[in-house]
Structures are given as C-alpha cells and as structure tokens.
C-alpha cells in the first residue's frame, strides 16, 4: 500500500479515490436487513420475499458508494413491496411464525436504511432539498403506520385497545359526513372564532396596558389569574352562561388563548432597543408612529410565538370543553360518546382529524411567521 502511494507521488499520476468507509449505521442497517432476511428464509418465511430482501440489501450495500439516491430508491421500494406482501399474509394464522417477524424486522431495517441514505445526501440544489425534506418525514410516518398495522393484526391486539390503521381509515371513509359536521362545529366555529377573538383581545389589551401604567399594574396580575383557571372548572360555567352550542366552547378558547397573547405582546412591545426609541424621538415621531413603525414590527416574533402556542391550545380547549355538554355534535362530544360505546376506531378517526387540523393550523401560522419575520436572525439564517 505504502509503495503504491509513493509511486503516485513520483509519477504524478492522480491518486486513486480513497476507499469508501462505511458508517457503523450503514453496516448495521443493511447488514442487519440481510441477516434477518436470511434468518427468515431458514425459519420458513415466504422464500420469494426473503431472497429479494436479501438481494436488495446486498445491492444497496455495494451501490451506496456510488449513489446514495439509487440505494435509497432500491431499498425503499423493496421495503414497501415486502411490507405489502406481509400485510397480505398477516390475517392467515398459519403464516405468522418467527420467520414472518424476521422479515418484518428486515423490511423495517431496509426502510430505515432508505431514510438514512436520504438524510445523508448532501446537495446544494434547493428544490432537491425541498423534495427530500418532505419525503423523509413522509416515509418515516408511513413506516410507523405499517409497523402499527402489522403488529396490531399479527399479534391480534384487541380492537378496543388499539385498532389497526386500516380499520381507522375504513371508519374514517365511512363516517366522512359525521366527521365533517363535527369538524365544522368544533374547528370552524369554536376554535377559529375563539382563537381570533382571544388573540385579538390579548393584542388590544396589551396595547392598552402599554399606554397606561395603571392598567399595567392592575390588569396584568388579573390576566395571570385568568390563565391559571382550570379549564375543567371553567367549561361548565361557560355552558351555563352561553348555552350548549358552540359559543360556550369559543368562550373557553378565548379564555385559554387570551393570556399567552397578552403576555407575549407586552414583552414584545418592550423589545426595541433604547437607541431605536431615541431615533424615533429625534424624528419627533408620535406615539402611534413609533408604535406602528418600530415597536409592533419589533414585537412580531413574540406575537407569532403566542399565535403558535395558541393554535394548539385552542384545539385542546374546544375539544375538552365539549365534554361538559353540547348539542349532539362536535369532535369532543363524539370522542366522549364513542368511547362509551367501545367504538374506539371512531375515536381514533376523530383524533386523526384533530391531529391533521391542528398540524395544518400550526403550519399555516408558522408559514405566516416566516413571511412576516423574514428579517429576524432566527428565520433568515
């Protein structure tokens, strides 16, 4: 080896590329997938899938030196094919043996290897990176669902404890009309209206507090008190005040979202540096001019922080508030009644709707934050 290196130096020929050094993770994932596939073959798992998995694990191991993308595509595709055939087998009791679980683990390791390779890709292309940033969590989530499906059905987990994703999906599709009505009642009415009023009121009160030291001393501690009110205690009272329908739930959401907005806006309004205040003073700017041109822009990162916190608080508040009396409608109402009827798949379908709506809501606020505070060091880097 030393001889050949010297020769390169003497002849001035380009030195051969350094041999690729596999990371420990790569050895573990692809080696593990191959071993498990081999073990599955010995333990009487379907030989077609075992052999194919073994072959793809080997090919990926050899290929990833040249192209991580090709290795990722091969392993990702094989893992999905294997998962598909395993899901087809999972309801035949005679097919569930040690070899079957070996193959499940092998396919899982292949998928893990696929995501690992995708994460290791270094690229300067922005659109390529965007695709990867979407693809990686999607694959990750998909495999969570696949494992959930295989484990619940393969191990015959009782439906009441944990239904399989396919069951939840089926229930979701069958009950779309009910789910939409619940969504409209809870999210489009209670959550959105409560959120808008709660955040808006928090913002306006913050400005009032800013203008008057009297309010700052008197109102801020009371706002603190309101935020400490237990939702379980407040919700029934709101039902008595505002009736069974959505306004009482919106009221709970208002109470929950008001204080985070108030506190964040108050501290955001005092975030501007003394020098920037002096600057406005040298321009003889009025209170409102320096509020709109300096202090509110400076407070935006704080305000968006509150908007993000509140987007999840509002969902929780509206759903929990429905446990304390509603018309026969709403996501919280459905969850509490269907649990009583042991229709756990419906509960999960509602949870899925809540999770989707909550994430989209949060994502939308986060997107607006990136647009409005593009200049902030935490966003621009």
């Amino acid at each position: 080896m030393a001889e050949s290196v010297n020769l390169h130096v003497i002849t001035g020929e380009p030195q051969a590329a350094r041999p690729y050094r596999f990371r420990a993770m790569e050895r573990f994932l692809f080696g593990g997938a191959g071993m498990l596939a081999l073990l599955g073959l010995l333990l009487q798992a379907p030989w077609q899938i075992s052999l194919a998995t073994l072959a793809v694990a080997l090919i990926a191991f050899l290929q990833l030196k040249r192209s991580r993308l090709l290795a990722a595509i091969a392993t990702g595709a094989m893992a999905l094919v294997a998962a598909n055939s395993l899901i087809d087998l999972v309801d035949q009791p005679e097919a569930i043996n040690a070899g079957f679980w070996c193959l499940v683990a092998a396919a899982w390791l292949l998928a893990w290897g696929c995501v690992d390779q995708l994460s290791a890709i270094k690229t300067l292309s922005r659109s390529y990176r965007t695709v990867l940033n979407v693809l990686i969590p999607v694959l990750f989530g998909l495999w969570l669902l696949i494992l959930w499906e295989l484990l619940t059905r393969g191990l015959n987990v009782p439906q009441v404890l944990l239904p399989a994703p396919s069951q939840i999906g089926q229930r979701f599709m069958e009950s779309r009309a009910i789910l939409w009505m619940d969504f409209k009642q809870t999210f489009l009415r209670a959550v959105l209206i409560g959120y808008a009023i709660g955040c808006g009121a928090g913002f306006i009160v913050a400005i009032l507090i800013d203008r008057s030291p009297f309010l700052q001393r008197g109102l801020l501690p009371i706002g603190n008190l309101v935020s400490a009110l237990p939702i379980v205690g407040v919700a029934p009272i709101m039902v008595m005040w505002f009736g069974f329908d959505w306004p009482s739930k919106a009221a709970v959401v208002i109470i929950m979202t008001f204080f985070p907005m108030l506190v964040n806006t108050v501290s955001g309004l005092s975030a501007a540096q003394p020098m920037q205040h002096d600057l406005m003073k040298t321009y003889a700017a009025s209170y409102w001019q320096s509020l709109f041109k300096l202090r509110i822009p400076e407070a935006l990162p704080f305000i968006f922080n509150a908007l993000k916190i509140n987007s999840t608080l509002a969902m929780i508040g509206a759903i929990v508030a429905e446990f304390f009396g509603t018309p026969t409608l709403g996501m919280g109402f459905r969850i509490s009644t269907e649990v009583g009827r042991m229709n756990v798949d419906m509960v999960w379908a509602e949870i899925a709707v809540a999770a989707l709506a909550g994430s989209l809501f949060y994502g939308l606020v986060a997107l607006l934050e990136r647009i409005f505070t593009f200049w902030h060091p935490s966003v621009r880097s």
Partner: protein
C-alpha cells in the same frame, strides 16, 4: 458674529443624574458657542460627558440648570421642528426595512409624499456612495455600509445641523479613515454644521475646525482649540508638522484635565 450665525448657544449648563449611590455630575458649567458651518468635535475619555452634552443638544436628555438654545429655540422646540439629524454609535437600521426604506423612514414620519421621498432617498444614498444598494436589507451589508446608510438617513431630513455620536467607533481603522475623508467632503459640499463626538485624537484633529477638549468627574470643558489647518484636507495631512502640533495640543489639554492617564 451676529446672532443668526449662532446655531448652538450653551451658557452655564449643568446636568446631574440622581442615582442610588448619590448624584453624578455628568456636566458642570458648560459654556459653548457653535456657529453656522462649524465642524466641532467633542473629545475626552469615557465619562467626560461628551455624549451627554450631544444628547442635551438633541433633547434626548434635559439639563438640570443653565440655558441652551438650538437655532434660537429650546432643544425640545428644535427637535419637534426636526432641526437636526442624529447619527448614533451603531447604525440601528430596522432589519425589516430595505436600505432605501430605512432612509425613507424619517421622511414618512414627517409626512412627505411618495415622489419627494423617492428623490430624497436616491439623492442621499448617492451622497454616501450607496446608490444601487437601496433594495438590500441592512443585514446583507457590511458594518461600514450600514453606518453610511444611517448617515444618509440623517441627511435625508435635510437638517442644517448634524449631530454625530462616535459614528465610526465600531469600525476598523481602514474603513474609518475612508469614511472620515468622505464625511469631510460631504461637509465641504453641503456647508452643514456638524457636532461630532469621538475619543480618537487623530479623528478629531483631522475632521474639525474647532476641538472641544473635555475632562471627567465632573464632566466639563477643559479647552476649546481652534484648528489652523487648511479647510481642504486629505489623509496625507496627518503626516504634516501642523497636524502633529495640533494633536499634541489636544493631548496636552486632555492631560491638563487629569484625564489622560485614565484613557491610557
């Protein structure tokens, strides 16, 4: 000197900051006259009140006793009349505004119209050699360019009086020399009155036609030195005998104020 040419007139001015450890005499018995077209530097060690005096002129601090007039008005009236432009130690540009709209900020506050704002922004950015950088954001520019933008912002108000508080203090020496030269050209071109705070002797001597040497505890004026250097100067003047002589006089003045050992 007639009254019309007097821009700043300070008589027996004192300023005391009350603190929990007792009163701090930031300024004591300041008498000073600054005329139209002067370039005046306040020089002294930290704590001599040079920035405080500038802030009193700008109505950012209020004197405890004595009198001060800016353009024949109280500092507050002068500030409300937007009689001066102020350049701070840091550029303090707003990061959510482009360079052009940062320069436009005081004009928007003054209530000027769009066309007038655009032409003033363009003119003043060109004056500080930043034409073509209007669409950039402050954080995309170097420290020297940011400080130049903040000078353009102060000039856009079109004040006759420019107050500058160690504007180049945070910049490296090469950039500082360059900006000093540009500032001097700008002053010659516009005939504005400039009050400039610094703790650099060469900077004060190079820029000013009047150097106010201050000393600390309590902050007071030690000596006012009139410069005999020619009005037309470039950086090479710093090697001449006259320049070194003047720098020595400033140094002696600082030493006489028992403040020189503290600057070291």
């Amino acid at each position: 000197m007639n009254d019309a040419s007097r821009v700043i007139e300070v008589n027996g001015l004192s300023l005391i900051f009350p603190t929990s450890d007792g009163d701090v005499h930031a300024l004591q018995d300041i008498d000073l006259t600054i005329n139209q077209g002067d370039f005046v530097s306040f020089i002294g060690p930290s704590g001599c009140g040079k920035t405080t005096l500038l802030r009193v002129i700008a109505d950012l601090e209020q004197a405890t006793s004595g009198s001060i007039e800016v353009n024949g008005m109280t500092p507050e009236e002068a500030r409300l009349a937007r009689a001066y432009g102020y350049v701070f130690q840091a550029a303090s540009l707003y990061p959510w505004r482009t360079i052009a709209s940062n320069v436009a900020l005081p004009l928007e506050i003054m209530g000027l119209k769009g066309d007038e704002i655009r032409s003033r922004v363009e003119h003043n950015l060109a004056l500080v050699d930043l034409a073509g950088f209007g669409r950039k954001y402050p954080w995309q520019l170097s420290g020297g360019m940011q400080q130049r933008a903040s000078i353009a912002r102060a000039l856009a108000v079109e004040p006759d009086l420019l107050l500058m508080d160690e504007p180049f203090g945070a910049l490296d020496e090469i950039v500082r020399d360059h900006l000093n030269e540009q500032l001097l050209k700008l002053w010659a071109k516009t005939n504005k009155t400039v009050v400039f705070v610094t703790h650099s002797i060469p900077e004060a001597v190079f820029l000013s036609n009047k150097i106010v040497v201050m000393s600390p505890r309590p902050g007071r004026i030690q000596e006012v030195i009139e410069s005999d250097l020619p009005a037309e100067r470039d950086l090479s003047i710093r090697e001449t005998q006259a320049f070194l002589h003047l720098a020595n006089r400033v140094r002696d003045g600082l030493r006489a104020g028992h403040s020189y050992d503290e600057v070291s």
